[in-house]
Structure formats: structure tokens, C-alpha cells
Amino acid sequence: MEQELREIVRKLLQEGAIEHFIGYAEGVEPLHTTPCFIEREEEVGALVWSPFCPYNLARYLHQMKNGAGKVGLVVKGCDARAIVELVKGNQIQRERVVVVGVPCQGQVDLAKVEEAFQGAEAVEDAGDTFLVTVGEEGHSVEKERLLREKCFFCKHPISFEYDFVLGEMSPFLLDRRSELEFAMIEEMESLPVEERRAFWRAQFERCSRCYACRDICYACYCQECIFESRAPRWLEKTTTSLDNQTYHLIRAWHMVGRCIDCGECERVCPMEIPLRQLYKKVEREVEQLFDYEAGMRVEDLPPLVTFQVDDLGLVI
């Protein structure tokens, strides 16, 4: 698959069809990749594909707003939802992007690997299992054991035209019922309000307001972020639990109808705040109240720019 990808990109560059290509390259550490920007044919050899490609490269499409040319990128099915949303939000023109779809069969959670196999050097996708290499030995592992949480509920856009595909683009299905997708939300909701408050206060206490969650998010593209605004000044740089609460709640609110659960925010948080447990609540409310899912169809109208008179019958 890597060879096919490299060849596609090489041709695109050779033909001058794109200015650069955004893909995954090997990282310095084992079990890591890093985003890369390929501008010349000679560089395509750097492109890789593995179960350690969590980055939603659509995040880097915002850089093309200043230019006029075309940009290519490789996306997993989940990432394609971001492209749908960016087109929907008039942030990019679909014609300016060359999308190469890669049939991801699950991404690996680094923490889970490190816990189960200290010193693992490689993990390969072996169809129904992952093959973990530790030293000389290979271990075959059920995918569930190492999978990123979000991958259990893989969703692709309902209709999306990839310019190239490296195989069949279909959601990666495990035997997990979709009702379980919001199980952790339901669990939180079943707790008494004081416990919820204590839980979230403790999480926000730990936050160092590094803004990694905001900066990795494909959907955070305001030219002047609300948190950078000086007039009004919503937040100073003070990091009390309640200041941090303001930050997280406002950002979660801004994700209404836009969060595609790529899970990147939670992955990048150095303080391991369970951000998906916040954003999936927003995602679920929007689904339950307004029957809306982000990133599925370009024609869908975002829930907050419209209304139905029937809304008044909705109760929560």
C-alpha cells in the first residue's frame, strides 16, 4: 500500500497537479509517525502507512487558504469527515484538494501497547489481529486489546468521493454494538451532580492550558481565536480550575455539530484529561436532539444555523 501511495503522489507532483502532499512519515521513536509535507518527487519515499498514523491531516488544510494551488493529502475514513465539514463550512474548496483514501483497519493506542508489551518495536496490521514485534519475537494480538477507543466506533462519511483510494474505503467493523458508543457518557450522567462536578473540577485542575487540544483540532480555525481576543478578554492566562473550565466548556460548545470524534484532542493532552468524555456528550446531544451527525454529508445543515418549530416539543 505504501508503494501505491508513493507512486500516486510521485505522479501528482510530476504532473504539477499539486503543490505539495501532506502525509505520514516515520517518526524518530519506534511506534511513531509524524506529519510530512512532500514537495518534490524525490521525497515520496518518506511516505508511510501504519497503525500509528493518528493525525487528522485535514488539520493542515487551513494552510492552503493563502494560496491558489492544489494540495494533496492522505486520509483515513474518519478524517474524510473533517474534509466534509471543511467544505460545508466554506473553509476549503473541494476542487483544490486531492484526497487519497487509505482503508484504515484500526489505529493503535500507544499507551495500551506500552502497557502490554514493554519495548515493542513495531506493530503491524495483520487483518483480524495486530502483530507486535518485541525484540526477536512476534506476538499476535486481538485488535481490541490495542485499539484506540474511538476506532471501536469507526464512521466514514455517508457519501464522499475520494480522488484515489488504496483499497476499499469502508468502516472498520468490530463486534461492538453502537449503543455502547456513548456508554461512558451514560455512565457519567448516572452519577449525582456533586460527583460530576468533583470529577470535572479535578480534570480541569490538571489542565495547563497548553492549547494542544485546540491546536490539533481540524475544526479550530478562527483567525482570531476567542481565547486570543483582547476585547473582550474572555480568559487571562491564569489556570485555576474554574478558568480552565471556562476554556473547556467554551471549546466544547464550539464543537457542537462539528466534532467528528477523531480523538486527537485526548491523544495530545499531556495531562491525560479525558476530553472525549466531554466532546462525545456534545456529539450525542446533537444526534439525539437534532438527528445530526457531523461530517457525513456536505448538504446537511449544521444544527445551530437552523431550527424546526417541532423543536419546542423537545425535552431533555
Binding site: F307, L312, L314
Partner: protein, 141 residues
């Protein structure tokens, strides 16, 4: 505004209906608890959810949005947008441990002075019962 233990409640009232209703309540000398601070907005849809989030996170004890009855919005449909936002916001605030009742949305028309007074009284009682929302001076951390 001194920081003390009595609940402080922020009310956004739309100019055409609910603020007029509030005015009527005042002119009619109806008795109401003094804990509310009213901010007039042209339409309830002017209220950004960020106002509610920031207010409750900074420790105000309650935030209320008052708008026109559905169908009566001076701008035809503003209050429908408000309703959608309020639905989402309500569930979301409660999820992170802000007690139900601290954020409310009510419809009040220009002629409903008594209803305004009654609503304010009822909401103030609810929020008093919930206790202070952990308001702290910033320098106390």
C-alpha cells in the same frame, strides 16, 4: 456589586417582550427579590452561550435568558435559535456538574408583568436552595 453569600443572578431580557414585561412589573410595584441583575438585549438570540458559560464559571449563581413566546419574536424566529442553544447548553452544563436550575430559559411577553415577577421569585428561590456557585475572588485561587 459586593461579593457575598446572597445569590447573584444574571438575567438577559429581550427588548421587545421580556424586558418590557420586566418594566411593567416594576411600574406595577410588584414585589421581587433583589438578587437579579437584568441586561437588556435586542433579542434572546443575541445571548451567546459563552456568556452563560463564562458567567457560571466565574461563580455567578444563576443565569436566565428571557425571550418572547415562540411565534411572537420581534425578529420572527430569533427565539427558535435560542431554544436550540438552550437545549444543548442545559444538558451540557448539567453534565459537567452545574446543578439543574442554575441556567434557565423562559418566555415572557410584554404584558406579563406579573408573570415576570413570579418567574424571578421562583428562580431566585430555586437558586437560593442550590446554594452559592463556588464564587471566589481570583486572588484566592
Amino acid at each position: 456589586m459586593a461579593l457575598d453569600d446572597k445569590p447573584t443572578i444574571l438575567i438577559f431580557a429581550c427588548n421587545w417582550c421580556s424586558y418590557a414585561g420586566a418594566d411593567l412589573a416594576g411600574v406595577s410595584r410588584l414585589e421581587m427579590p433583589p438578587n437579579c441583575r437584568v441586561v437588556r438585549v435586542m433579542c434572546s438570540a443575541r445571548v451567546r452561550p459563552e456568556f452563560v458559560i463564562a458567567a457560571l464559571s466565574r461563580g455567578l449563581d444563576g443565569v436566565v435568558i428571557l425571550g418572547c413566546h415562540p411565534g411572537d419574536c420581534h425578529y420572527s424566529e430569533g427565539n427558535y435559535y435560542t431554544w436550540r442553544r438552550a437545549l444543548l447548553l442545559k444538558g451540557f452544563l448539567e453534565y459537567v456538574g452545574i446543578e439543574p436550575g442554575r441556567f434557565q430559559l423562559r418566555w415572557i411577553s410584554a404584558s406579563e408583568g406579573a408573570r415576570f415577577a413570579q418567574t424571578i421569585t421562583e428562580i431566585t428561590d430555586t437558586i437560593k436552595a442550590l446554594g452559592p456557585n463556588g464564587r471566589r475572588r481570583p486572588q484566592e485561587g
